[in-house]
Symmetry: none
Subunit: 192 residues, 4 copies
Amino acid sequence: MSHLGYGCLMTVDREQVLRTAAALLSRKATATMDEVARAAGIGRATLHRHFAGRDALVRALEALGIQEFEAAIDQARLHDGTAEEALRRLVAGLEPVAGLLAFLVTENQLFEGDQMNEGWARLDARVSALFRRGQERGEFRIDLTPAWLTEALYGLIGTCAWAVQDGRVAAKDFQYMIVELLLGGARRSVER
Amino acid sequence: MSHLGYGCLMTVDREQVLRTAAALLSRKATATMDEVARAAGIGRATLHRHFAGRDALVRALEALGIQEFEAAIDQARLHDGTAEEALRRLVAGLEPVAGLLAFLVTENQLFEGDQMNEGWARLDARVSALFRRGQERGEFRIDLTPAWLTEALYGLIGTCAWAVQDGRVAAKDFQYMIVELLLGGARRSVER
Amino acid sequence: MSHLGYGCLMTVDREQVLRTAAALLSRKATATMDEVARAAGIGRATLHRHFAGRDALVRALEALGIQEFEAAIDQARLHDGTAEEALRRLVAGLEPVAGLLAFLVTENQLFEGDQMNEGWARLDARVSALFRRGQERGEFRIDLTPAWLTEALYGLIGTCAWAVQDGRVAAKDFQYMIVELLLGGARRSVER
Amino acid sequence: MSHLGYGCLMTVDREQVLRTAAALLSRKATATMDEVARAAGIGRATLHRHFAGRDALVRALEALGIQEFEAAIDQARLHDGTAEEALRRLVAGLEPVAGLLAFLVTENQLFEGDQMNEGWARLDARVSALFRRGQERGEFRIDLTPAWLTEALYGLIGTCAWAVQDGRVAAKDFQYMIVELLLGGARRSVER
DNA sequence: TATGAATGAGTCTTCATTCAT
DNA sequence: AATGAATGAAGACTCATTCAT
């Protein structure tokens, strides 16, 4: 979806470059600036005009990722309706941001809890709160901690985004696969 | 935690070095050879004696990972008993290999389907067959494809291994969290 | 003498770099890439931009050396006039290439006859043919083989080039010293 | 003649190691200690037991070379008889030392005149004096300087030693080829 | 004494970055 | 604004050397 190919000649704006970079860097953290630039259809030096350096690019990715993650959370109205409905809305909103989200998760693996990006920690808490709300409402089991459910959500989103890109899962099934697995699991309910 | 320093005199064998490298590289793909060497308690040059270069190290990690993954699959006797029981055995057997597995998954993301490591593809097929068997036996739902369940298993194992290392999930809960989520999901069963 | 320093702003082209490298490497085969780069007035990384690596540099030197050696042979018209005249023209033409030639000779010492650079073997044959023509015309003695005379020519050119650089032989005497020794030898002719 | 091959198991004494090292290093200055050791039929560490390090090896080579060169000069009695006879004796005596001599020449290329090895400079002067004696006696031409004739002698010895090793000149012709070329040159004397 | 394993020093190579055009 | 050339910094790799056996 965000693959423009190498030959793209049109001027690519900053956000498009960031999305392409996120998709690449979340899959290959060792990608060089040259690879990032070519994936975005621009030259190395031009990439440096947009972002002062690799660090700046990474920070921009984090900022964009957190911004879009936050927007998705806001729009999902996590406090409205059942927790399940809210989760479905959240996953739907996160689909276009999956690449950025996977990048964020990978980046934050490197840090200990204290050094974790502040914005990320805040959003993390909001998602965690959603699962807690579900537990308090009796919708979700309480033997799986909100922290783990949150991590699992991120993991499944990243995994599914990769599976979609590699053609192992159909793009249209993205939300369904994640939500159904996360909420219902693989086991066939007896009486359902 | 795993910094033994230079003075460590005990002979660190090849496999120990590989395990340490897997744990490090699966979390930080950009780790330098120096970091890998120090994490393993040996010098850079000694690391190069064991593995001709970075590529050789990665290939050795892949080989070890596939070997241990295969051993875990063999020992789990995926064809015996219910699919659920087999899956529980498999997850239990994969727990010590989680770091290597996460590394393998990340590495295989870089390849297109055709170029995928042959050994990996074979193991992948065996896990996938387990989920298919569960579906055919009526244990597992059929609206979640075996391919997706397989991917999800890998994703949850990697995610949970990270969460354990970062202290967000208790080590003793590793198997439980993964299997319960994968099989039962977060939703509270009505009558259970 | 040839240290231009880092501040040198003029663009140093590929061929100039090669000539400098040949002069250095033919005298000091163990010279580092850094020494080569500084002798050429450029940085290490820039040297690597021009030549992918040390091997590539050596191959480029061989190619240039063979090319210039061939040009010198062509221009010497080895088949015209007496063999002695042709030899004088050849040595004159080889003077500016002496450094490259010495390098080529040294490099080709490393190979067994079969693996010898093809281009070099061809030029070698042309020089050898010149000495054979001289023998057939009665100009040259026949107890010294063309192969040896060819080798001796290379050896004397390299030796003299070094002697000139070290100030043991005057630069203007280069051709004279080589040709007179090679043709007439040190012995004083009786009746001359 | 001094090639023992790799499989040699007998204890190789210091001098034999040096001769093998000289033969190798004069042809490939970049040879590693490992290559030198294997050419001598011993292990790396054993080579280090014989010679404290690479520098020590090189110094030992220089010392042995100068010693043998001096012995050859002494035995050639350069002051006795005609210069030509003395030169023939000298070349005959230098034949077994050709490898070491080639190494010495190469090494001394690296130094400016002042830093030149003292022992070498002394021997150089004795050879040069031989050529001067030949000029003063009217045996040798005076338009070729003693310094150049000395250099040429070294160059031809090294060149011929290589040519012999590569099979381009017969070993039995070593002395003849060198002396005849150096003294008589390639030109056919008219009245001889 | 001889050897294989280990390693510090130093070279080779690459990459992020800057600069001139 | 965009590009190719140039380069300092840093990582990958090799080699001379040492150590334990």
